[in-house]
């Protein structure tokens, strides 16, 4: 499969079809048994997750992974590339300017997601929907080239889900690529450029936006299975 630069690529398929496994392999959390992963012309098949991040690939998780005993703001601040890793910087205070910029950026994202009022709450106190937004917020923090999202609008109210997807569409226009796994086709299909359908660990169909719903393979393996 191919994820075009500056586009939103959707992966759909019934439960157990291998969508999250694919994400784990692309992001380096699982080793590939076969095949290759090429990112911007470089083979990244054997790279560690943190190395793939440095190349510009970031992910969200299917089950929200909040850093529970960190505040909402702190959850976003840890997402910036390379930030906070140097002991020498910690001791000399050279991080201060960057911290100021990141706090501003984090508040803009929280504001956009409508959870800025929760900024000082522990992440463990957020509701399921708010945790989803936190995952999205973290992904937006790190200026990635490719953002891989596992069910980013599951449990999010329709109005906000549309708002998030519009924002993703705007970011895609700026050159960021998105690879999204999502079940809420009624909402997401209007925003995506390409759709891949998976079943039993394989891609069985591909197409554009709502056209994919007319594909007989899709009706059989995905929508058929759902029905």
């Amino acid at each position: 499969m191919e994820v075009p630069k500056g586009g939103i690529t959707l992966i759909i398929g019934p439960n157990g079809s291998g969508k999250t496994t694919l994400i784990n392999v692309v992001t380096g959390f699982l080793k590939a048994d076969a095949g290759r992963i090429i990112f911007e012309g470089r083979d990244i098949t054997n790279k560690a997750p943190h190395d793939r991040f440095k190349l510009g690939i970031v992910r969200t998780f299917q089950t929200p992974h909040p850093l529970k005993k960190l505040t909402v703001l702190e959850n976003l601040l840890i997402a910036d590339a390379g930030y906070g890793e140097r002991v020498s910087e910690a001791l000399t205070g050279k991080w201060l300017k960057r911290e100021e910029d990141l706090v501003d950026k984090a508040f803009n994202i929280l504001n956009f997601l409508g959870i800025d009022h929760l900024w000082s709450d522990w992440a463990m106190n957020l509701s399921g929907g708010q945790l989803r937004l936190l995952e999205v917020g973290r992904a937006l923090m790190c200026d990635a080239k490719l953002i891989i999202m596992d069910e980013p609008i599951a449990g999010v109210a329709p109005a906000l889900a549309h708002s998030i997807l519009r924002k993703l569409k705007d970011l895609a226009k700026e050159g960021i690529s998105f690879m999204i796994v999502e079940h809420r086709l009624d909402i997401i299909l209007d925003y995506v450029d390409r759709v891949y359908v998976m079943a039993n660990g394989r891609i069985v169909a591909e197409g554009k936006g709502r056209e994919i719903l007319n594909n007989p393979e899709v009706i059989e393996v995905y929508l058929g299975a759902q029905g």
């Binding site: 911290e99 973290r138 790190c142």
Partner: protein, 353 residues
């Protein structure tokens, strides 16, 4: 009356000295466990390394410089009789020995810590904790039975760095030095952890996958963190060696230097340096109170066992009670309040006009 006043003075100094030593070790544990979530059940090893720096390395350097004959046990005794009169003449010499020992302790503490944490590449949480405890115990046993390192069960002498002071003032001076080092360590740890690095350690404690997904190399962070924690803890080992003027491996056992620091950390509150200070002070006060009055308590309560076991039993119970009823400790953990975060808090607390 004078005796009572002296006893009180001695008690206060004892509390301050032990608070200083335990504060250093417990702060080191707060870096590793309180912030980074690394269950270092081998804390005593780093403290032992500090003692080895003083009794094994600096002693050998001085033995070589002054040409004292014999194995490390005999030569350390001989060295004392050569070096102590020199320190009595020149106090700076004693302080230089202490400073050199603290630096070497921090260095070998850091190296040991960095090597010690390598099994964490494959092991997590409980398994890692048990492995670290086992490694620590093995090195403790080797140090105890191999007389070539720090004299084994015979121990070695170290120079009296305060030999220029009369005996009754020595305790006061050493307490002041220990407090000074502990305060330096506190500000170092506070600066290190009230930063994006401290926040990153907390994030790693909460979920390593997320931290890794956002481009951080978990193993490198672990190595750096345990190296720093072990360097800090090792300084306490060196300090304690100069306080007691000798080094015997059995002193650096897992109860005193691993279990008790964990208890103090849990009591005060993990991930909170002020909580650590409170936890250490409360613990030391209780421990010394028990040490002073344990026979009276035994008689009063008609305890059916030796008084020496009382503190172990009570502290064991205290640990269980803390974990059950107040796992967050005396002071709860707070977010890492960097200046921009404080500023955001101030701005958002302003009444809306």
């Amino acid at each position: 009356m004078e005796e009572e006043s002296m006893a009180q003075e001695f008690f206060i100094l004892d509390v301050l000295l032990w608070t200083s030593l335990y504060l250093i070790v417990t702060l080191s544990l707060n870096i590793e466990y309180g912030y980074a979530g690394i269950p270092n059940f081998g804390r005593a090893l780093a403290v032992l390394m500090g003692a080895i720096a003083a009794g094994g390395i600096v002693n050998r350097i001085l033995i070589a410089i002054f040409g004292v004959e014999g194995n490390i046990i005999e030569a350390s005794g001989g060295l004392k009789s050569v070096v102590n009169p020199m320190i009595a003449q020149n106090p700076l010499f004693g302080l230089a020995i202490l400073a050199l020992s603290l630096v070497i302790a921090a260095l070998i503490g850091a190296i040991t810590g960095a090597l010690f944490i390598l099994p964490s590449a494959k092991l997590k949480q409980d398994y890692l904790a048990i492995t670290l405890l086992a490694i620590s115990e093995v090195i403790f046993m080797v140090s105890n039975y191999n007389t070539a390192i720090i004299g084994g069960y015979y121990g070695v002498s170290v120079p009296d760095i305060l030999a220029w002071l009369p005996g009754e003032q020595r305790f006061l001076a050493f307490t002041v030095i220990s407090l000074f080092v502990a305060i330096l360590v506190y500000f170092f740890v506070e600066r290190l952890l009230t930063s994006p690095y401290g926040r990153l350690l907390k994030a790693m404690r909460e979920n390593e996958d997320v931290v890794e997904a956002f481009g951080k190399n978990i193993m490198t962070i672990r190595i750096k963190t345990v190296a720093i924690g072990s360097a800090v803890a090792a300084t306490a080992g060196a300090l304690y060696s100069f306080y007691s003027v000798n080094v015997i491996a059995t002193t650096f056992n897992r109860v005193e230097w691993t279990f008790f620091p964990f208890l103090m950390l849990l009591l005060g509150g993990m991930g909170n340096n002020r909580g650590v200070v409170l936890g250490v002070f409360s613990f030391v006060l209780a421990k010394l109170f028990l040490t002073v009055y344990k026979f009276e308590i035994k008689t009063l309560l008609h305890l059916p066992f030796e008084a020496t076991w009382l503190e172990y039993i009570l502290f064991g119970i205290a640990m269980l009670l803390i974990l059950y009823y107040r796992p967050e400790g005396i002071l709860r953990e707070k977010p890492v309040m960097t200046p921009p975060v404080k500023q955001a808090l101030r701005e958002r607390e302003k009444p809306q006009s």
